[in-house]
């Protein structure tokens, strides 16, 4: 439900308009979770004598409206009058994990819950010329900014490159470059037939795993990191892809451990994420060298 800058046929207290002066309607909202439940924690403050009185007399009420586009969840949770004291209400709404996923919109507002005759709120703008309005059940009285949360039940930790990167055969091309696809659950490197054949052969040799990673997985991860930086404005949309969420989480964790990730280049970040891959690739080369020397000696 979008409440952004709507023009209502009666005065509504909101941060978007001066319909009502010298009054305040503010909300704080956060989401926490445990293993089974999302907890929407709200704090509402209101200063307007007319609205306070309507809520006290249960002619109006506060609602926390939660909507999830992917699970058809849409519900207005009414806040009980008892939770509202001295112009302030705070509490928690609990919703099972099984009901919400992806982008979830939350709106907090007050609306009429029974007909209100001669509505003329304190501080009403002079343009209204002291007119009186009739409000019906469901008519807005106060609205706050929409909050959007990206809720996903789990973040896959990046343990190995194949947890966020996959290599696949591009059936359309015999030869050419590697292309990376971002709109999938893993960063997907599409290899033309000739390269894919070589990749398969290398991959099957355990001793060359680290070399393959340094050669192929690092550039793909760098592409992913670039994408993440470039697409910052569309992060919400991209969070539907697991690789995007996992990488975001990894960078957040690194930042929490005081790593200066803002200043790092994507190459440097990619090496940190996969923990010194070139060193390991070098070690693997040495091992191959040693074993080949052994074969020659024999």
């Amino acid at each position: 439900m979008k409440l952004i800058r709507k023009n209502f046929p009666h005065p509504v207290l909101s941060p978007y308009s001066d319909d009502i002066d010298n009054s305040h309607f503010g909300c704080g909202l956060s989401v926490e979770h445990d293993q089974h439940t999302y907890f929407f924690k709200y704090e509402i403050t209101l200063s307007n004598s007319t609205l306070l009185s309507l809520i006290e007399n249960e002619k109006a009420a506060f609602f926390v409206h939660i909507e999830c586009g992917r699970t058809f969840y849409r519900k207005a949770h009414r806040i009980k009058k008892e939770n509202f004291k001295g112009g302030r209400a705070c509490g928690t709404i609990s919703i099972p994990w099984s009901s919400l996923v992806g982008s979830v919109e939350v709106n907090i507002f007050a609306c009429a819950v029974s007909p209100i005759q001669e509505y003329s709120p304190e501080g009403m703008h002079t343009d209204y010329q002291q007119r009186k309005f009739a409000l019906d059940n469901g008519d807005f009285a106060a609205v706050w900014k929409t909050s959007v949360f990206d809720l996903y039940p789990a973040y896959d930790p990046i343990r190995k490159p194949d947890s966020i990167i996959c290599f696949q055969l591009d059936r359309e091309r015999e030869t050419g470059e590697i292309n990376v696809i971002f709109d999938a659950d893993k960063l997907t490197a599409c290899l033309p037939a000739d390269l894919y054949q070589k990749y398969e052969a290398l991959r099957s040799d355990k001793g060359k795993e680290e070399i393959v990673m340094a050669m192929l997985a690092i550039p793909v991860l760098m592409e992913g990191l670039w994408y993440l930086k470039e697409e910052k404005e569309h992060a919400s949309e991209n969070r539907r892809y697991k690789w995007f969420r996992s990488l975001e989480k990894k960078l957040r964790d690194m930042k929490n451990k005081n790593a200066d990730i803002e200043e790092d280049s994507v190459l440097s970040l990619a090496q940190k994420i996969f923990e010194n891959p070139y060193q390991r690739a070098g070690d693997a080369f040495e091992q191959i060298d040693i074993s080949q020397q052994g074969e020659t000696d024999l």
Binding site: R70, T71, K75, S98, S99, V101, N137, Q168, I181, T188
Partner: protein, 238 residues
């Protein structure tokens, strides 16, 4: 039988199949994934038990079978999946391509690119995509309209299934996500069988969209919504 779902990599691969390639595979009369993926392990077995066969009706006028098939799919899954699981493309795409392939070929012949994208996969991430997928729509329509309080629990499902335009104008609009609001509108349609043209359904959608612009439909009583529709659409009050 355990419910199977696609491994994401394989689903992604399938979605990226070129139109030319699609032309060959989507013409086959029997499921072909195993052949396409060359016997690789392209699915997971979940812990969810399903009946050994989900028999769907494949006779008569296809759209007339939607109600019966919706009930069959819903009951096969009843109490076994939750809404988050039921928003999973891996689940519905697998059912469309394998378990229910025969039904899909009959109900949604994969002759056009658009049909394959919307009916065999989920195109986009929102509820609209779920209401278009050939099998997901059957489950979701029953899930959203099932009413334990009524003698016939599927009475409102039957109203929703009367016409595809009802589904488009209610389920694909935001207000249709609120179960109480949706049930109120379907109850209105049940009480007013004379409201039965495409134009009527479009009018209802528009009317509620306008109303939802200034009012919170979710905070209104079902009786108020019905009353509102009766007065706005000039039908006799019940």
């Amino acid at each position: 039988m355990k419910l199977r779902i696609f491994k994401q990599d394989y689903l992604d691969r399938l979605k990226r199949m070129s139109p030319n390639e699609r032309g060959n595979w989507y013409r086959k009369e029997t499921p072909w994934l195993s052949e396409y993926f060359q016997n690789q392990n392209y699915f997971y077995d979940t812990k969810i038990d399903l009946p050994d066969r989900i028999e769907l009706v494949r006779e008569g006028e296809p759209s007339k079978t939607d109600l019966e098939n919706s009930i069959r799919i819903y009951e096969a899954f009843q109490g076994k999946i939750n809404p988050v699981q039921a928003a999973e493309e891996r689940l519905w795409a697998f059912l469309c391509h394998e378990t229910c392939w025969d039904y899909m070929m009959w109900r949604w012949p994969p002759e056009k690119e658009g049909t394959i994208k919307t009916r065999y996969f989920l195109e986009g991430v929102g509820s609209r995509a779920l209401s278009r997928n050939g099998i997901a729509r059957l489950w979701w329509f029953a899930y959203l309209t099932y009413d334990q309080q009524r003698d016939n629990h599927y009475e409102l499902t039957a109203v929703l299934m009367r016409h595809q335009d009802i589904q488009h104008n209610l389920i694909e609009r935001n207000f249709g996500r609120n179960r109480d609001v949706l049930h109120a509108i379907l109850e209105f349609l049940k009480r007013h069988p004379e409201t039965n043209s495409k134009e009527d359904y479009v009018q209802i959608g528009k009317c509620l969209n306008r109303l939802g612009g200034v009012k919170v439909l979710d905070c209104m009583e079902p009786a108020e919504i019905i009353c509102c529709l009766e007065s706005k659409l000039s039908v006799s009050k019940t």
